[in-house]
């Protein structure tokens, strides 16, 4: 995603808008997460870059797979909404944040028109999905019932209450996290000055 100007990203705006929406819908946990996210993105925009040595990153990636599997088993055993779920996830937060922060910073120019087209398609598609989800959210807040125009959370909630639903969600979620952290976020030798 493009920067508005040096040191400031559209991601910060997206997180800020989502924070305001979470306040509007009266969800303190989500508001806390997204306001923290907005702050972290702002800090990231202005803080000098720190790089993780390739060896350290490789070591983390080696243990990432078995650790994700251990988490899958643990989350399968712990009931949904249990306080241990929150304890583990909040403990995980700084770990994934550090791995994301310290990843590679080499940024080749987006000169390939295929990449530019793909970026346009995915941004426009994401905006359509977000618009629909946010509209359902806002209509649900204004109306007496949020069931008439459910959000994705409301649709998925009954599925998540089933053992299989929770297991499939957790497996897919951990697989995505592993890919985001270790497959796309691979260490590179050189670094440039892009945020």
């Amino acid at each position: 995603m493009q920067r508005l100007k040096r040191g400031f990203s559209y991601w910060t705006v997206a997180f800020l808008v989502t924070t305001l929406l979470q306040f509007f819908r009266g969800s303190p946990l989500d508001a806390l997460v997204f306001s923290s996210g907005t702050l972290i993105l702002l800090i990231s925009s202005f803080y000098p870059k720190v790089h993780m040595p390739g060896k350290g990153f490789k070591l983390a990636a080696t243990w990432g797979g078995p650790f994700a599997f251990a988490l899958l088993v643990t989350f399968y055993l712990i009931p949904r909404h249990d306080q241990w779920m929150a304890i583990i996830l909040w403990t995980l937060f700084p770990v994934v944040l550090v791995l994301a922060w310290l990843g590679p910073h080499r940024a080749p120019k987006m000169s390939d028109p295929r990449l530019q087209r793909a970026q346009h398609i995915w941004i426009e598609w994401a905006l359509i999905v977000c618009f629909w989800e946010y509209a359902a959210n806002i209509i649900g807040q204004l109306a007496a019932s949020n069931e008439a125009f459910p959000t994705i959370s409301l649709v998925m909630d009954p599925l998540m209450d089933k053992t299989l639903g929770k297991f499939v969600f957790t497996a897919v979620w951990l697989w995505m996290g592993y890919n985001l952290l270790f497959r796309l976020n691979r260490g590179q030798e050189e670094a440039d000055d892009e945020h």
Binding site: V33, A86, F93, R114, R117, E147, M176
Partner: protein, 75 residues
């Protein structure tokens, strides 16, 4: 007057959105498409910037705590 079940319509539109997303992913999966790069190629490029990495990973983490721990209120 026709009685439209808005819950069902809204939920099914999410499902359609999921299928469209999967269609775009699979249409470009091998990164051989002449006009559009694959999602993986795009993400690999986007992940070279720290702010993007942080945004994606924080959003991913929030999805986890939202569905595994938080209570979703039905009214």
């Amino acid at each position: 007057m026709m009685n439209i079940n808005t819950h069902l319509v809204t939920a099914n539109i999410y499902l359609v959105m999921l299928f469209i997303s999967l269609a775009i992913i699979f249409a470009t999966l091998d990164n051989e498409n002449k006009r559009v790069a694959s999602l993986k190629a795009l993400m690999t490029r986007l992940f070279t910037t720290r702010t993007t990495r942080l945004a994606f990973i924080m959003f991913w983490w929030w999805v986890g705590i939202h569905f595994l721990f938080a209570t979703i209120h039905h009214r």
